[in-house]
Point group: C2
Chain length 352, copies 2
DNA sequence: CTGAAAGCGCTAACAG
DNA sequence: CTGTTAGCGCTTTCAG
């Protein structure tokens, strides 16, 4: 009587729906819905019957349908430049962990540091109505652009990098401290001619490192030669080219801080190509502490950024923000720490 | 007259919907929908008016709602063990590229090689109704488990690894060839005592490499000592421990193939800790060609797996499969190539 | 404690 | 070329 047209109990699309279960048990879909979500309001007996039937039929919630009704998709969008950069990968992994534990899923988009692509990616991500967005803004992103793209009331937390003038949450590393630690380390090792690769681009964290680099040196009364400041980031090629440029100088530095570890690896390769070696002809300090930093030869001295903690915290902040959208924005700045290994060494030992 | 209750033209949830645009323009939502999707059936004038209005109002498609109607979510689920492994990261990046170009988004889940977690992740991913799934199955995954989890008619392509007995598409590297290339290279270099770290776990690609490793050696008439075969994969620790175990043998091998590059990096670290060096006391060949392989010291000789091509192809195959679900399953096996660098060297040069 | 009804935002038939 | 109608699968009042 309940089922008019026959068939092996399937919805229009051959899938098991609440309706199917409801018909089968002669209850309403409302009851089924409540029972499956363990609402205390349903009778224990009913709940059990419903859950049993759901299992028997192989029912799977359709979260998309629920989202349409509740305006809550349980999806978190993540936009970052490139999954293959070790920092991003670590952050993404941590985000996914906490999202999953919270019953949410990650919608991923990558921007390749390209503003147009970032715009397209964000537009597309929004169409899926994620409950929130975690973004590491592409270099050069303006407040207006980001705000505009995202202003539709969706909570945003900025990860690692930030665009200023935006009332969004931020979770990242203390880049000022990172650069200070690196510089102090090199100073402690006796270096006085210190250069830097990276920092002049449109990425907030890089700029902060560059600024702190210069300030630390000034504070110590150590002069900076403009020729020792070279641009670029995020690739081995950058590091190779940078170190080559530096070594071709009449008065090359004896130590270099690189804005990220990948660049630092490049610097070490560049050194090797000249039959030089990090920690001997030139001391190198990286930034980030990628997993391979301990695997390189010589092992890379760097500043550990705790990407894992950053990713976790960022996801936590976003989830909290989704629940209380109107609380004041938060800034979480995770302190990094120096990891002294072998790529930076005492000046006295150098064959300069 | 069209608008009964006033307000600045917003839907129930404060968002712009098709209805809003339709009311504003005094057309039907159907027309608006068609116009926005550039259906040729609508008059040019209407299309323009609609698109203009949509832009003015800041309309964003709600793909979730569309999905409910069309049973097509435009989402591709990706399940892999760990984003931080270089191979996975490269594959994921490539997948995201082609998905995005196809107007689709990635739903990400990670399994950490844990079968229970994989089950939970797949269950959750399915609830979002992705149009298809790309999966690199966790070690030990059985055909029954995977089929069961996924049988709901959703297209699946296996990436890099495969579970046999499953009529799913597969895209991966030619692991047999990879191991042959590695072994032949070591043989060419004069090695006759060759070991291997990894290959005895529940991961199809690893097993294939191990099998081909043994067969290549047999084919060449070179004996294998069981003590030279050690287990583990996917971490530097594995490589460190493995190489240490090998070197403690009474008759250690003179060369070792590692099942993946990360393990190979570990092996090189392990060597360094004994004041040895890859390519001198022991030759090392990796598998995969992670970006950092060229950055290590010595540079890692390895077999390039073209993760990028694998990821791209896998996504393409999935998208095609979604369109034609009933075509016979495809296998795409991308040939790898040897990248001889410095970590494997002629036996004569060794200080054995 | 359970059911009926409404509706989230969209698209697909089918008329007109 | 455009409008009407129906409904995807779910959750939420509101009655009973």
């Amino acid at each position: 009587m309940g089922s008019s047209s026959t068939g092996p109990a399937r919805g229009a699309r051959g899938r098991v729906t609440l309706q199917i279960i409801a018909d089968m048990l002669d209850v309403s879909t409302a009851t089924v819905s409540l029972a499956l979500r363990n609402a205390p309001v349903v009778a224990d007996a009913t709940r059990l019957r419903v859950q049993q039937a759901a299992r028997d039929l192989g029912y799977t919630t359709n979260r998309g349908a629920a989202a349409l009704r509740t305006a809550r998709s349980d999806m978190l969008a993540v936009a970052l430049s490139d999954v293959a950069m070790p920092d991003s990968a670590a952050i993404l992994g941590a985000i996914e962990d906490v999202a999953r534990d919270a019953g949410r899923t990650i919608l991923l988009g990558t921007t390749a540091e390209d503003l147009d692509r970032q715009e397209r990616v964000l537009t597309m991500l929004r169409e899926f109505r994620p409950d929130g967005l975690l973004i590491s803004p592409a270099g050069g992103t303006t407040a207006a652009a980001l705000y505009h793209l995202v202003s539709a009331g969706i909570p945003v937390v900025q990860v690692s990098r930030e665009v200023d003038g935006l009332a969004f949450d931020f979770v990242g590393s203390d880049d000022t401290l990172a650069a200070c630690l690196a510089v102090e380390h090199l100073l402690d090792l006796g270096h006085r001619r210190i250069g830097m690769i990276g920092g002049a681009d449109g990425i907030s964290s890089h700029r902060a490192r560059r600024r702190a680099f210069c300030e630390s040196l000034q504070r110590a009364g150590v002069p900076i030669d403009c020729d020792w400041l070279v641009d670029g980031y995020g690739s081995r090629e950058t590091g190779i080219a940078g170190v080559s440029r530096l070594l071709d100088l009449d008065e090359p530095p004896t130590a270099v801080m690189c804005v990220d570890d990948v660049t630092a690896f490049g610097a070490m390769i560049g050194l090797a190509r000249r039959n030089h070696r990090a920690g001997r002809e030139l001391s190198i300090v990286g930034c980030g502490d990628a997993p391979e930093a301990a695997a390189s030869e010589p092992q890379l001295s760097t500043v550990r950024a705790h990407h894992d903690a950053i990713g976790r915290r960022a996801a936590e902040v976003l989830i909290r923000r989704i629940e209380t959208p109107d609380a004041p924005p938060e800034r979480h700045v995770i302190p990094p720490e120096l990891v002294a290994r072998a790529s930076a060494a005492r000046l006295e030992l150098a064959a300069a």
